[in-house]
Amino acid sequence: MRRRDFLASGGVAALAPVLRLAGPLRRAAWLLVPMDDGQADHLKAYGVIFRALERGERAEWLLNYRGGAFLLPGSSAALRDATLTGVTAEPVDDAALVAIRAEIAQTNAEAVPLEKAPRVAVYAPPNAAPWDDAVTMALNYAGIRFDKVWDGEVTGGGLARYDWLHLHHEDFTGQYSKFYLNYSGAPWLTEMVELNQRMARQAGFPHVPALKKAVARGIGGFVENGGFLFAMCTATETLDLALAARDVDVAAAYADGSPMEPDATARLDWSLALAFQQARLEQSPIAAVFSDIDGHQVNSAGGRQPLGSFTLFNFSAKIDPVPTMLVQNHRQVIPDFYGLTTSFNRNRLKPGVTVLAEEPGSSWVKYIRGDRGQGTWAFYGGHDPEDPQHQIGDLPTDLSVHPHSPGYRLILNNVLFPAAKKKELKT
């Protein structure tokens, strides 16, 4: 799965051999998994598609058709899976399929073949609770298999085994999300500090910020070499800060024994970062704020902005299938949700970054993507789409009561994105 040689070399043609070989399935050979309001469980639908790909079946993603529907061969395994999970799947015969394809051809829609289940990794410390990360929750709920990786795997080159990597609320500046002073003594923080310091010692780094910079470089290299990176919450902002701060001390004294360099902001090398540029660092070691990249500044005294709603952009499915895939949804306007990094100030985005969702009338955007080397990345602000305020110690989100969550759908779009068949990008 490499970017720039991307999508559908012909969605229909790709599935034609399956259709021809299907024999008895000819008359009701297909299952249409609608993703509009007719779907009983939007989130589990992604799992059904993922597992079909794992079984070696092929699928199509019908972009902008019925909320971004999926088409599967009508195999008994797919039908069984959909039934067990409560996912709506409509039998479609060849005649109906012809009509669907005609509609797709005539509208701003496209059929993208999905070929192979991506190998998925989630970056998380070994003691991370399964309910502390929206992506882990979404993957668990949808039944999508993944491996957990951490610093050792990243610095040891282990990411090469994966197509897709997720980061959540990790702090790649190595400052423990800047909770160190405000939550001193809290058991969870003590455990986090000990775990990271032990890892840094084992890996031969003098302190945690040095380790995390190396990890950030490893992740940057993963993207350069063709990986798909999806990051949320603080991981977005701190990954870029750690990359840009390759030769600068941006960490507080409690993290590495020396304070942030006085001219650190000026010395950041933004050419190394993926998404952002010209950000100003937060100097105070006490404020749980990293820079002015985040538009909402949830932990900034006097600077915190209220939550609104964000709107997904419409793209041309035939010309821009990549962003189109990432914004497939049955809702265009989605309630916003806080995270340590909630959004991204527009004036801090690098040229060439594609905005996928924004809050109209505000100076920030919510969801962005871009390319680096042979790979691609997507950043989504906020912590948990169904827990807008998210405070430490909140009860875990139970996705079985949010099966239609449009915010979570955006996460799962990213998981299936690497499964799309490659072709040359048109834009």
Partner: protein
């Protein structure tokens, strides 16, 4: 530190409000720009106004607000200094300057300004409080603490700024210091009690004993009052009462602390809370002779709720002995006595007393007690008497209760009528759910009378689940599956499972599951899967659930089966 307000904001609004009526057009323009969110232009407009009058507090506060919005509070230092040069005796300007220099991180200047301000307003805590809060706005607790301590030293009073220092120490987890500071703060101003409770109430579980010990260790009844309230909030109301009782001062001061504690207990519904409420009310009665009978009657009721009939009786005797008590008080005491008698299973006496109280009791209270009596009679298997007491009750609760009486009597036709009439809303949700299940069973049985079923429900009522299971299974054996036999087997299986007889439960549920075409079959398969899952046989439960869904994806139990599958797979919390 969210609980700590920023007085500067309030100050700015207070100053701004009277000026709006008399402001000049330039000021109006600046304010309008600010209101529209055009903060950059507003800042420039305010600056232009300051060129003419550098000490205008309204303009300065406007500039401060927009610079805060822009994240440029450091730029306030210049205008603030200019203002002080022009008008060096205005406390508002000092407040502004202290905030500006603190925001700029220049601690020495903040201190010097606070000292100068202090000389203008001798004895005032405001300069130090302003400095400290400005430091907190920057999340710099060390500077805030330094500001408050400097203020205390300057003012020469050990209790000065105690509330602020108490809040800081609490947030930092230094509970010994926090207790001492709260002691000073509460001595100065009892209004700090709410802040103390709010902040200390958030302390993590493992630190709570240390907090209680530190507060109690101050030997200050007011602080012990805080500790006892915290103990109640943290689930130990009786410990809270004992702590308070040990340090309770005599007279009105003690009574006030008891009333405060009572307020903490009111929202709590546990037996311990009811017991603590009874003891608190009893202690209050001893300290307030004028209201003694009222508190004793309430205490007796609390003891009844706690199941402590002996204490309730002891107090009711005292209320009864009181000469010239108010009629409403006598009625309340009488009602409590009826509750005590029901709890003691002295139903005939309870019914007689209730009859005597009919004229004086509030009708709703009378109905409530009558239903309590009916429930007691049901438990004692005195169905005829219970039936007589609800015969004329046409409220939804009464109908639900009458349906239950008739079910236990085996009068299924009448039970069905009453339960249907009660509808889905009577009593609580759990009761309504149970009632819906019973209704479903009665509808499929389609019989006017079934003494055997009544006997089985009576056994259940007594808590004899083994007898209930046996009777239900016997009844099922003589009833065709499609005429209710399957439902009876399912019910027997559920009762056996609830009674932890998993072997019998599994056999019965399998029997119900193998009744093709009945509505009970999928429900029995689901219950069987639950039983097997609880036994740790996850794979078997998973296979069972999958087959259940695949056989009938549209079954009413399919969503529950999917939910259980998710739980078994760890796909949702609670696995």
């Amino acid at each position: 530190m969210r609980a700590i307000a920023w007085p500067a904001l309030a100050a700015s609004l207070l100053v701004l409000a009277p000026s709006l009526a008399a402001q000049q057009p330039e000021f109006e323009r600046a304010f309008e720009l600010e209101r529209r969110g055009n903060h950059v232009a507003a800042a420039e407009a305010y600056r232009r106004l300051l060129a003419g009058n550098p000490a205008d507090p309204n303009v300065l506060l406007g500039l401060e607000r927009v610079l805060t919005e822009l994240g440029r509070t450091g730029e306030m230092a210049g205008p603030a200094s200019e203002a002080l040069r022009a008008q060096s005796a205005d406390p508002v300007l000092y407040g502004l300057a202290v905030r500006a220099w603190t925001a700029a991180g220049v601690r020495d200047s903040s201190r010097r300004l606070a000292e100068r301000w202090g000389r203008i307003e001798p004895g005032s805590e405001a300069p130090w409080r302003e400095w400290g809060y400005a430091a907190l706005a920057r999340r710099d607790r060390n500077e805030a603490k330094a500001a408050f301590l400097a203020g205390r030293e300057q003012l020469g009073r050990p209790e000065a700024l105690a509330g602020e220092l108490a809040q800081l120490a609490t947030v930092e987890g230094n509970y010994a210091v926090a207790a001492e500071e709260w002691h000073h703060a509460l001595s100065e101003n009892p209004g700090y009690r709410a802040s103390a409770l709010s902040l200390l109430g958030q302390v993590p579980g493992d630190r709570r004993p240390a907090v209680l010990a530190a507060l109690d260790g101050q030997s200050d009844p007011a602080l012990t009052g805080v500790a006892s309230a915290l103990a109640a909030r943290w689930g130990d109301p009786l410990i809270g009462f004992r702590m308070l009782d040990a340090r309770l001062p005599a007279g009105q001061e003690g009574a006030a602390l008891l009333v405060d504690f009572l307020e903490e207990l009111r929202p709590l519904s546990s037996r311990d809370a009811a017991q603590a409420r009874g003891r608190t009310l009893e202690a209050l009665a001893a300290r307030t002779p004028a209201s003694r009978e009222r508190w004793l009657a309430e205490a007796a009721r609390a003891y009844t709720e706690a199941g402590d009939q002996m204490s309730a009786r002891r107090l009711l005797a005292q209320v009864g002995d009181a000469p010239g008590g108010a009629p409403t008080l006598a009625a309340a005491a009488g009602g409590t006595l009826v509750s005590v008698l029901i709890a003691e299973r002295r139903f005939d006496e309870a019914e007689r007393r209730l009859g005597e109280l009919r004229a004086v009791l509030d009708p709703e209270e009378h109905d409530r007690l009558r239903r309590d009596l009916v429930r007691g009679l049901l438990g004692a298997d005195r169905l005829d008497r219970a039936d007589a007491l609800v015969a004329d009750d046409s409220t939804v609760e009464g109908l639900a209760l009458r349906g239950r009486v008739r079910l236990l009597q085996g009068r299924l036709g009448e039970a069905l009528t009453d339960l249907n009439a009660a509808g889905p809303y009577a009593i609580d949700r759990e009761d309504a759910t149970t009632r819906a299940g019973i209704l479903a069973l009665l509808q499929v049985l389609d019989a006017d009378s079934a003494p055997g079923l009544g006997a089985a429900f009576r056994a259940l009522q007594r808590g004899d689940s083994a007898a209930a299971v046996r009777q239900l299974a016997e009844l099922a054996a003589t009833t065709p599956p499609e005429r209710g036999g399957a439902e009876l087997l399912l019910l027997a299986g559920k009762v056996a499972a609830a009674g932890r007889d998993s072997v019998k439960a599994e056999a019965l549920l399998r029997g119900a599951a193998e009744t093709p075409g009945t509505a009970a079959a999928p429900a029995a398969r689901l219950e069987l899967a639950r039983l097997i899952a609880r036994a740790g046989r996850r794979d078997e439960a998973t296979a069972l659930l999958e087959q259940l869904i695949l056989d009938d994806p549209r079954s009413a139990v399919a969503p529950q089966a999917r939910r259980l599958l998710d739980t078994l797979r760890g796909a949702v919390p609670g696995a």
